[in-house]
Symmetry: C2
């Protein structure tokens, strides 16, 4: 057994059995170990942003980490933007980053770089293994670290000689961290506030947005009249017919101000107080209404679901009946031009039970409400603002949940960041349907230009927002990577294409020209 095999066996012993990777020479012993050791599924991405984004999606849906396999500092660097998103999503991820052998590190070889420096802004845990004898234990610690709090990024650096030198043991798994319990005092304090009759909103994030937490939150809302809210960009939300509805905070600061107007108490459950996405010259960043009190029921590292259930008891709301979303999106007759609204009506109509929607398109966000009445589904969003997230997140979600349909609602501009994702979707035959909102531009930026108070109608600025000249042909791009694709230019065409896509398995792309 060499270090690479010890590492791999230890990862598997700790429950990690999927590896999204793009290896190079320094990772060859790890690659060879994928054959000599059973139990790890390797999945190749043609670019590291695909690899790390897929690990994010996997972590959100599996609730445990996949590992990545990255080639030295630059390989990690290519994956950083989606690790930033994963960090914001509190997704558990274990990065394995190959490094030069310790004997080679002293030379300024072309690929020598400050790997820890690259890792630091996105990683809560970083370690460079110093020996094949310890790398298994390091792997067990990395897995444990990735599960701390609500989920973390753990980066384990693997010098090549640590992989190729003899090892003698496989590390036993370490106990998975248990989320901290919220104290009875806190629950009582929040219960007293909630009973006081002030206009209250619960802002939920993390596991509290899954079915069990939502049922408890629904009882609280039914009992107290409180609103249930989630962030504009929640990592994962369970919603649709039969689920407790949660209102999503709007995107723009001034919309959030209106949305929260009159709120006297915000109770945080795994969430932070709402702030605007960007700062603007004449708009607020801090969006809690003047005079509104903020109370914390559960911090992100605490067990928000258990806290909500304790609060149900404290309020005597065990038998309160929360209104559930109803499936009303059962009919829709498309006609006329293809629009953001008609796309979403088709999605709401045809979405199968227990699908996963991934969203990275401003025009999808605009019609978010329409899918509230669709079949129950999980909804995943771009948590860190680094575009290029959902193409690979849909891969990871599909790997974690092979029996569930994934629908990726994707802007054209953001799709291009990690367009290589399509190839992995084809190779792994992932059941993901990508809808490209092809409005031929970074349309949100043309809007933001005036919102920040910048004034121009010149050609240079316009050229930074438009994706024409030439237009992107997503059907050709998808076919170039082995994914079946069609273009839809009317709502009738789109509806037919989407309905067909929902009834078949395997990757498909629909370019929705709007």
């Amino acid at each position: 057994m060499n270090g690479a095999e010890s590492l791999l066996r230890s990862l598997i012993a700790s429950g990690v059995d999927v590896c999204f990777g793009n290896p190079g020479t320094s990772e060859m012993h790890f690659v060879a170990a994928l054959d000599s050791v059973e139990g790890m599924r390797p999945i190749l991405g043609l670019f590291e942003g695909v690899v790390t984004g897929a690990a994010d999606g996997y972590g959100r849906m599996a609730g445990k980490p996949a590992c990545t396999l990255l080639h030295l500092g630059p390989g990690l660097a290519n994956g950083l933007a989606n690790l930033h998103n994963a960090r914001r999503a509190s997704s558990p991820v274990v990065n394995i980053v190959g490094d030069h052998s310790s004997t080679h590190a002293r030379y300024e070889a072309p690929l020598t770089s400050d790997i820890k420096g690259f890792a630091r802004p996105v990683s809560q845990w970083i370690h460079s293994s110093s020996s094949a004898l310890t790398v298994g234990a390091d792997a067990a610690r990395a897995v444990q670290a990735s599960l701390e709090g609500a989920g973390q990024i753990a980066t384990l650096i693997l010098p090549a000689d640590t992989a190729w030198s003899p090892a003698d043991s496989v590390a036993a798994p370490l106990p998975a961290p248990v989320p901290a319990r919220v104290s009875d005092d806190t629950v009582e304090r929040i219960a007293a506030l909630a009973r006081s009759g002030v206009r209250t909103a619960f802002l939920l994030r993390g596991k509290a947005l899954q079915d069990q937490g939502l049922r408890a939150a629904g009882r609280i809302a039914a009992r107290t009249g409180a609103r249930l809210l989630c962030d504009t960009f929640a990592p994962r939300l369970q919603r649709g017919a039969g689920r407790v509805a949660v209102e999503r905070l709007p995107y723009f600061a001034e919309q959030v101000v209106d949305f929260l107007a009159g709120t006297e108490l915000i109770v945080l459950v795994g969430a932070q107080p709402p702030v605007s996405f960007f700062g603007y010259p004449d708009k607020p960043s801090w969006l809690t209404p003047q005079g509104c009190r903020i109370a914390v029921l559960a911090h992100p590292h605490e067990d928000g679901t258990a806290a909500l259930e304790a609060l149900v008891e404290a309020l005597g709301a065990q038998h309160a009946v929360a209104p559930l979303s109803v499936r009303t999106a059962l009919e829709y007759s498309p006609n006329g031009p293809l629009t953001g609204e008609s796309i979403m009506r088709s999605v709401a109509l045809h979405l199968p039970e227990n699908a996963i929607i991934t969203e990275e398109a401003s025009l999808a966000m605009a019609y978010y409400g329409l899918t509230e009445s669709a079949a129950p589904h999980d909804f995943l969003t771009l948590t860190g603002g680094a575009i290029g997230s959902m193409m690979p997140v849909s891969i990871g979600a599909g790997i974690a949940c092979p029996d569930r349909k994934v629908v990726n609602l994707q802007g054209d501009g953001s799709a291009m960041y990690t367009i290589q994702s399509l190839w992995t979707q084809a190779r792994e035959n992932i059941d993901v349907v990508t809808v490209i909102y092809a409005n031929r531009g970074y349309k949100i930026l043309a809007n933001e230009l005036t919102r920040v108070g910048a004034r121009t109608d010149g050609v240079h600025a316009a050229s930074m927002f438009d994706l024409q000249n030439p237009s992107l042909d997503f059907v050709a791009l998808a076919q170039g990577m082995g994914v079946e694709a069609v273009r839809a230019e009317t709502s009738v065409d789109f509806d037919a294409a989407f309905a067909r896509a929902m009834k078949r398995r395997g990757p498909m792309l629909i370019e929705a020209v709007i």
Copy 2:
């Protein structure tokens, strides 16, 4: 005038007139200023690796920096791998990285990140502007910093309020740094060594590999019998018919050992002693032969060309006649299957005068020697080992030298890292012909697997190297981004396609199936 306009005017005053960018909301005032201020050419890339790679290529060919425009930490992060390559190439680059306004930075908004942390591993100079009143001066300092030594990466962080607040001045350009002169003592010492009759090799890098330096080096070689060498991955080399020939160090450590066997003295001119690209269990990293002396004529920050010219005088070699490469690649009759060799014979035959070749394909490297006898050209390589470099470098080279044909010899695996480059090539109508070496795999890794001593013939490892199932269709990918493309499967087809590509202007891609 606001801060963005002050910044832009100051950059232009300092000689920076090309901006490769991918902006977002926090950079909107800079974008607006592109219209209110004249003199900056903005070029959009659909992914930041395209942006920074293009800036690398521009810096290598223009000898002055372009600026990049990047969207906060994640935008910079996406560009880091090609900044790593640019740093290894000593390319001057000025990054402008937008940041949240100072009033917004205290909140944990989704895009908040440690921008300086991201920048540090690749930047020799980093500064975050604190005021619209100083940002112009900061820009002038950044440009100066980018030209220090042989060329550096300067990263200027621009908080949004620094861009939108009122400014009152444009910074005057600072003097461009002058490379240090090598002392007469050093020249005399090297002259004495070179006269001593030991078997000598000059290892050149930087400007010494351009025509003027090479002519001096050629006289020295003619006078002393010394060999002239360059690194395996030199940022830029002028070569071909009529130029002084330089031997390129081979790639693999054991090849370099053979190549340098018997050398008694290595004289470094802007170069470092040769080391292997990777460390291997049973192969040396340090490749200078045992007992071989190393002497430094010029460090990278010193004027290597002037040092070579001084050495010519010290050796009395002013009239020595260096043998020049001769254009022998004038005829070639293709037949049979398409191979790495037949591709390069076509390139050598049809390459026009004064072209620029960019190389990122192991099969191109294997037949490098064939273009020595082609028309004179500049040759650019992947300096930092972070693949995905040459697709965008060819953009920057084409923007810097609009009258010169660019030929990009590109592996299929590495092409996929920054495949979005094709769109910018189409939009800017850059005169670049991309030859994709479509061998359907990371072929070098299958080789490296055994070289590092890893053993496997299993399917998992093989799946990490092959790019089949599905095969990539580069013709479809190019057409999807507006670039004309053809597929060649025989040497006759390739020769005809390449010959035609050399006679027309504008971007084109040839998928060479080998």
